[in-house]
C-alpha cells in the first residue's frame, strides 16, 4: 500500500514504565532502564520484574478530555490508551476537544490497537474457584457446580464485564477525544499497533476523516498475558538483575521482559493541519503488513524470508533504497527465536548500510510493551527527528548474526534523522512496518 504523502503527524504522546514520552526520552538518552522488581500489585508474577506504569489517575484527569474519565471503569489497557491519547492531544495542540464544533468532531477518527483488553484475573479466579469441585481437582479434573455461579459473582458489577469488552480502549478514547468519525479497535497480536496506524492512514486516504487519533496500548505486565507467556516459555529468566534483563537483539537475552506502555499519534491531512495551524513533525510515506504462518501458534516463523519481504515491499512502496534509511525502529523483543530472524533480515536487506543507519531498540529501556511497541518506536523516531539525537544502545552487547557491522552508539550522538522505518514483528507471524519522513 502506498499512503498519500500529505498524511502528516502533528502530535504524539506516550505512557510508559519510564513515565510520559518526555520521561521516556530522558531515560533512553541517559542509557537507563525502567525495568524494576515487581511490586505494588504485581507480587508473585513471573518473571518477578518488569516496567510497570507508575501513572496516577489524577494525571490522567489533567490531560485534554480527561476530566470526565473514570479510571474505575477501565482496565489497564484502557487506562494506558486514554493516557496516551491525552498526551497526544496536548502535544498536538488540541487542548479542549469537547469544546470543538460538531463539524470538527465528525471528521475526527479514533483507532486504538490493543493486544487484548484482558482484565485483572482476581475476580474471575474467584468465580472459577467458588464453582469448583475440590475432589475432582485432586485428580486433575475441573468440575463446576452451576448452582454456585451467582455466589461466585458476588463482588462483580456490570462494569466488570463492560470493561473487558475489547473495544473499550477506543470507546473511551473516542469520548475523550470527542471523535465522532470512524472508531475501531484492532487487536490480537503485538504488531497490531503499527497496523492500527496504517488503517488510520487508509481511512484518511479514503476521505472518511480529516484527522485521526491513532495508537495502541500494551499492558505487558498484565497477569493474564504474563501467565500465557510463562506457559509458552517466552519470558525472561527469573533471578536476573532487572535492569540487565531486557536485551533486544542480543544473543544473551533469555526472553521477553514485560513492560506497560501506550502511544498515540495525531495524523491528519495537509488541509486539516494547515487550517488549524498545526506544526507537522513528519509525513507517513508508506505502511505495510504481512502474515507469515508460524510453526506453532506462539511462533516462531520458520525463517526470516517473511521479514525480508515485508521490508523490501515497504521500501518499494516508499520509493526508497535501503541506503536512504537513517533510522530503523526495530522490534527486538528479546525472544531468541524472533530476534535471530529479525537480525538476519536486517543483515540481508541493509547489508553494509547497517554501519550508517541507526538501529533503534527501546525494549532495553521499557521492556516489551506488546501492541504499543510499534507506536512507541514511531514516537522515538519522531523525537530523534526533532531533537537530532540518537540514544545509546542499552543491553545490546552481543548482537545476533546479521548485525555484526551495525552502527554502535554508546552515548547520545547528534544526527540528522530524515527517513525512518518502524518495524513491529509479532512472534505469531504477523508483521507490520511504517515509513516516515521528517517535515
Amino acid at each position: 500500500m502506498s499512503v498519500a504523502s500529505e498524511l502528516l503527524v502533528t502530535g504524539y504522546g506516550a505512557v510508559t514504565g519510564a513515565g510520559d514520552e518526555l520521561a521516556f526520552r530522558k531515560l533512553w538518552l541517559e542509557g537507563s532502564s525502567a525495568v524494576r522488581p515487581f511490586e505494588n500489585g504485581h507480587e508473585g508474577l513471573p518473571p518477578g520484574y518488569g516496567a510497570a506504569v507508575p501513572w496516577k489517575h489524577k494525571e490522567l484527569r489533567a490531560l485534554p478530555g480527561g476530566r470526565g474519565m473514570r479510571p474505575g471503569t477501565m482496565t489497564a489497557s484502557t487506562f494506558l490508551a486514554v493516557g496516551a491519547v491525552g498526551r497526544a492531544l496536548a502535544n498536538g495542540g488540541i487542548e479542549d476537544p469537547g469544546a470543538q464544533e460538531p463539524e470538527v468532531a465528525e471528521r475526527r477518527g479514533v483507532y486504538i490497537g490493543s493486544y487484548t483488553n484482558f482484565p485483572a484475573l482476581k475476580k474471575h479466579l474467584k468465580l472459577v474457584h467458588i464453582m469448583g469441585d475440590l475432589e475432582a481437582a485432586r485428580v486433575g479434573e475441573y468440575r463446576q457446580d452451576d448452582a454456585r455461579i451467582m455466589g461466585g459473582m458476588k463482588g462483580f458489577t456490570g462494569f466488570d464485564f463492560l470493561k473487558l469488552m475489547n473495544n473499550m480502549p477506543t470507546a473511551h478514547g473516542a469520548i475523550q477525544a470527542n471523535g465522532r468519525g470512524p472508531a475501531n479497535t484492532f487487536m490480537g497480536y503485538s504488531s497490531v499497533g503499527l497496523q492500527t496506524l496504517s488503517r488510520a492512514c487508509d481511512a484518511l486516504r479514503l476521505g472518511l476523516a480529516d484527522q485521526f487519533v491513532a495508537g495502541a496500548c500494551g499492558p505487558g505486565t498484565m497477569e493474564g498475558l504474563t501467565l500465557v507467556h510463562a506457559a509458552h516459555g517466552m519470558l525472561s529468566d527469573a533471578g536476573i538483575e532487572p535492569s540487565a534483563a531486557a536485551r533486544p537483539l542480543d544473543q544473551e537475552a533469555t526472553g521477553l521482559v514485560p513492560g506497560d506502555g501506550a502511544a498515540a499519534l495525531i495524523i491528519e491531512t495537509e488541509g486539516s493541519a494547515s487550517s488549524r495551524g498545526a506544526r507537522p513533525v513528519a509525513r507517513i510515506v508508506a505502511a505495510r503488513d504481512l502474515f507469515v504462518a508460524p510453526t506453532s501458534p506462539r511462533g516462531p516463523m520458520a525463517d526470516s524470508s517473511g521479514i525480508v519481504r515485508l521490508l523490501r515491499g515497504l521500501l518499494d512502496e516508499a520509493g526508497w533504497q535501503p541506503t536512504d534509511v537513517d533510522y530503523l525502529a526495530a522490534t527486538g523483543a528479546g525472544l531468541a527465536s524472533l530476534d535471530r530472524l529479525e537480525a538476519e533480515a536486517y543483515g540481508e536487506v541493509f547489508g553494509a548500510h547497517l554501519a550508517q543507519l541507526y538501529l533503534a531498540v527501546h525494549t532495553g529501556v521499557l521492556g516489551f510493551t506488546e501492541a504499543a511497541h510499534g507506536p512507541i518506536g514511531v514516537v522515538g523516531a519522531l523525537q530523534a527527528m526533532e531533537d537530532g539525537l540518537l540514544p545509546p544502545h542499552y543491553n545490546l552487547d552481543a548482537p545476533h548474526p546479521g548485525l555484526e557491522g551495525m552502527r554502535r552508539v554508546a552515548a547520545p550522538e547528534p544526527a540528522e534523522v530524515r527517513r525512518a522505518l518502524a518495524v513491529s514483528l509479532a512472534p505469531e507471524g504477523t508483521l507490520s512496518a511504517l515509513a516516515l519522513e521528517a517535515c
Partner: protein
C-alpha cells in the same frame, strides 16, 4: 475510479442452521432459535435463555499449527470454509506470492471463552476448599502458576487471537486483521474489507465475525448490565425488538463470513455474484459507554454516510435490516435515527430485526444480518420481526411484524450499533452491470 466490491461467497454457522438457504428459509417462517440454555445449568442466573448452536459443526481438528477444536475456532473455520466453498475458491499455494498478496482476512472476534475454567484445578490446589472462607491469596496463585506454567497454557483460548491466523492459512492470505467494535464488529469487518479492496491493497477479502458468549460468566455479567431479557418462561417470545414489552436482548453464538471481491476479478473468474456492496458508513456517538446517544445522532450519521458513499438517497432504499436488539434504549434510538435519516420516507421502508429470531450474535451479528439482506435481494422476500404483540409509541415504523413479506429489494441497508457508541451501516444492492 472507485473499485467496486461484490459478494461472491457466504457461509454461516448460526443457531438456526449452518447453511445459508436453510437459515433464510427458517427466518422467513418466523422461527425462533431461542431456547433454555443447555451449555450449562442456568437455573441460578437471571437470564436462562439463549440461541445456541445445537448441532455438530464438522471440519478438521487442526489447520497448520492451530487447534480448531475450541468452540469459537470450530465456528469460525466452519463458516469460512462454507463461504469459500460457495465462492468456488481454494487455498492459495504457499509459494504463490502473487496470489497470496492479493488476499486478506478481516475478522471480528470478541467476548466469550470458557478457558478460565482451565485454571480451576490450579485455583483449588492453591486455595483449597471453595467453601472454606479462606483468603484468596493472589500472589500465592501467581507463584503456583509460575511454578507450573503449563497449567496456564489453555488461557490462550481466552485471547481468541488465533482465529484470524487460522483463516489466513485456510485462504492463503498475506494479510490478516482482527478488530472489535462490540456489537458493530461484524459490519466493521465488512467496512474494513471494502476499504482494503477500494485502496487496491487486496482483490479478495474473507471477512466476518465469530462469537461464543454463552458462558457462566458472560450471561450473568451482561444481565448485570441490564442488557439481557429476563423472560425465561417463554424463550421463543423473549426477543421482541420494537415491541412495547421488550426487556433486553438474547445472547447468541455463531459465526458468519463473506467473500468480498473486486468486481472485475470476480467477473473474470466467472464467480457467481450475490450482491454488490454499494456503500459503507461509520460514525461514533462519543457519548456514553453503555447507552446510545438518545437522539440517534450517530446511528443516523452512519446510515446517511453509507448512502452518500453509495451515491444513493433514502428514496432508493427498499429494506433496512435493523440493529434491533430488543432493548428499550437501542430500539427507540434506532427508530429516531431512521426518522432523522429518512424523513417522511421512514414510514414507507420495511424494517425488520433478525435478532427477534436468532438473538444477538454480537461480533457475528453484522455479517449474519448482511447475509439476510443479500438473501432478501436475491429472493424478493423480507424476513419478519417476530413477537410483535404490543405497539410501542416510541417505535412506530413498519417493522414487518410477525410474517415475512414478498417485497422487491434492490437496495438494502444493514445497521450495526455497538456498546461504546460505534455505529456502522452497510448498503447492499443487486448487481447492475457496469455501474459507474
Amino acid at each position: 475510479m472507485t473499485r467496486r466490491v461484490v459478494v461472491t461467497g457466504m457461509g454461516t454457522v448460526t443457531p438456526h442452521a449452518d447453511r445459508v438457504d436453510e437459515l433464510f428459509s427458517r427466518l422467513c417462517e418466523g422461527e425462533s432459535a431461542v431456547r433454555r440454555i443447555s451449555l450449562f445449568d442456568p437455573s441460578s442466573v437471571p437470564c436462562q435463555v439463549a440461541a445456541e448452536v445445537r448441532y455438530e459443526v464438522g471440519g478438521p481438528d487442526r489447520i497448520g499449527p492451530y487447534d480448531l477444536r475450541p468452540r469459537a475456532m470450530r465456528f469460525a473455520h466452519g463458516a469460512a470454509q462454507r463461504a469459500l466453498d460457495a465462492a468456488g475458491l481454494d487455498t492459495a499455494a504457499e509459494d504463490d506470492f502473487a496470489e497470496r498478496s492479493r488476499r486478506a482476512v478481516q475478522l471480528a472476534v470478541g467476548v466469550g471463552s470458557t478457558a478460565m475454567e482451565a485454571l480451576g484445578p490450579l485455583t483449588l490446589s492453591t486455595w483449597g476448599q471453595p467453601e472454606g472462607g479462606q483468603d484468596r491469596d493472589l500472589p500465592a496463585f501467581r507463584r503456583a502458576a509460575a511454578a507450573a506454567p503449563q497449567l496456564c497454557e489453555k488461557l490462550d483460548e481466552w485471547f481468541i487471537d488465533q482465529a484470524a491466523p487460522a483463516l489466513g492459512m485456510l485462504l492463503g492470505a498475506d494479510r490478516i486483521c482482527t478488530a472489535a467494535s462490540a456489537c458493530a464488529s461484524g459490519s466493521h469487518s465488512i467496512f474494513d474489507a471494502v476499504q482494503q479492496i477500494r485502496l487496491g491493497q487486496a482483490d479478495l477479502v474473507l471477512c466476518g465475525g465469530v462469537c461464543t458468549p454463552i458462558t457462566r460468566s458472560m450471561m450473568p455479567g451482561f444481565a448485570m448490565l441490564s442488557a439481557l431479557t429476563s423472560r425465561n418462561e417463554d424463550p421463543a417470545a423473549a426477543s421482541r425488538p420494537f415491541d412495547l414489552d421488550r426487556d433486553g436482548f438474547i445472547m447468541a453464538e455463531g459465526a458468519s463470513m463473506l467473500v468480498l471481491e473486486e468486481y472485475e476479478q470476480a467477473r473474470a473468474r466467472g464467480a457467481h455474484i450475490h450482491a454488490e456492496v454499494l456503500g459503507v458508513g461509520i460514525a461514533t456517538d462519543s457519548y456514553r459507554l453503555t447507552d446510545p446517544e438518545p437522539s440517534g445522532r450517530g446511528m443516523a450519521a452512519s446510515m446517511l454516510g453509507a448512502l452518500s458513499d453509495a451515491g444513493l438517497g433514502p428514496a432508493d432504499v427498499d429494506y433496512i435490516n435493523a440493529h434491533g436488539t430488543s432493548t428499550k434504549l437501542n430500539d427507540a434510538a434506532e427508530t429516531l435515527a431512521v426518522k432523522a435519516a429518512f424523513g417522511d420516507l421512514a414510514r414507507k421502508v420495511p424494517i425488520s430485526s433478525s435478532k427477534s429470531m436468532f438473538g444477538h450474535l454480537i461480533h457475528a451479528a453484522g455479517v449474519t444480518e448482511a447475509i439476510v439482506c443479500i438473501k432478501s435481494i436475491e429472493t424478493g422476500v423480507v424476513t419478519p420481526t417476530i413477537n410483535q404483540q404490543t405497539s410501542d409509541p416510541l417505535c412506530d415504523l413498519d417493522y414487518v411484524p410477525n410474517t415475512a413479506r414478498e417485497h422487491r429489494v434492490g437496495v438494502a441497508v444493514n445497521n450495526s450499533f455497538g456498546f461504546g457508541g460505534q455505529n456502522v451501516s452497510v448498503v447492499f444492492g443487486e448487481l447492475q452491470g457496469d455501474r459507474t
